[in-house]
Symmetry: C2
Subunit: 219 residues, 2 copies
């Protein structure tokens, strides 16, 4: 029952990765960073996922977002497995580092332990956890998926766009929002302030309560 959750600072771990040793906070630096774990190298869903991450690399780069993979396999295994990932995914290169946690210490610290599955030796494996970490090293958003359910990279990109938009403007993104859709003005913004902050205008929804909290605009 590890405790790391929204708002917590990720520990400044010393990592062994396919791109050398690094300290986690140095890697994050001033970027949004996606830390994502996978249960094991040379397993099916993981190959499709890390390949999808490689295929979406341009989308993440455009947004200034770094990627960091992680499992309990060692660096030699990762390096061999990358050949499979790239071959399966039409040659999309794995340009991001994949960290190794053979002692299963990091996955506990990062709340990335799969509860139901073990490796063939009976050791713990990581879940399909994905944390989006800000430049302040704090967790902004997490997906905790089990070994059987591959993640959806379109949803990862969607929430990144939301996090980046809401960090720049006093707005939030409604249910099922996609880039280009209207956003809502934060409740902390008065109507007076909203007129100044959003000179492009905004539209208040008329509700039975007659409270004017549902205000849409475009930013």
């Amino acid at each position: 029952m590890p405790g790391l959750t929204l708002g917590d600072t990720v520990p400044n771990l010393e990592l062994q990765t396919t791109q050398g040793k690094m300290k986690l906070h140095d890697y994050i630096d001033d970027s949004f960073t996606i830390i994502f774990s996978h249960p094991g190298d040379f397993t099916p869903v993981c190959t499709t996922e890390l390949g999808a991450m490689a295929a979406y690399a341009d989308e993440f780069a455009k947004r200034g977002v770094k990627l960091l993979g992680l499992s309990c396999d060692d660096i030699t295994s990762h390096a061999e497995w990358i050949k499979d990932i790239e071959a399966y995914n039409n040659g999309h290169k794995v340009t991001y580092p994949i960290a190794a946690d053979p002692n299963r210490e990091i996955i506990k610290q990062l709340n990335m332990v799969e509860p139901d599955e073990k490796d063939p030796s009976g050791n713990q494996v990581p879940s399909r956890a994905l944390h989006i970490v800000g430049s302040d090293n704090k967790i902004k958003l997490s997906f905790l998926y089990p070994a059987g359910t591959g993640r959806n990279m379109d949803e990862v990109v969607r929430v990144l766009d939301s996090l980046q938009k809401t960090s720049k403007h006093k707005v939030a993104t409604p249910a099922n929002w996609k880039p280009g859709d209207p956003v809502v003005i934060s409740p902390s913004v008065s109507n007076e302030e909203a007129k100044k902050l959003f000179p492009q205008g905004y539209k208040t929804v008329d509700l039975p309560s007659k409270k004017d909290y549902l205000r849409f605009t475009n930013v």
Copy 2:
């Protein structure tokens, strides 16, 4: 830094809801149940989210899945606010219960605390957390989104379909999987066993490692 995560049993909380008192485990009973928190009644993103949950009610009912909302507002507030939700969402009725946690005890126990925002009185509010709980009362999958980012109900339905499929067959769903797409056969299944379990056949991807772990089938 609350600890509840994947694989943990949700506590058998005594809940006050818009549909009366209930014990959480009695409500879950033998169904997949979605427990989802929202920062506050009469706020913009929440109105779109709980409305989306109402609009998707048929999708959840078809899958035998129960819904349970939760925030720190009281029952009277919830009841008034539901009028706004239904009006905004073209009359889709809120047929699921919304629990009240005015003492902010439940959100801590369920790992649903928003780290960055407070209500106008300076009290803690819930994050946009969403746990999918199985009939064994254990957490199968979690989304932990901050107050500014509304959830994506299509992703919720997608992962439910994955969880239900992988609980019935020895398969997993690859990255970006959608219902109807091929699934992968679990690594624990030998090729011999796979021939028996999947008489419809399966296709093994040829990889540089020559390990035959990436096997697609349809179930």
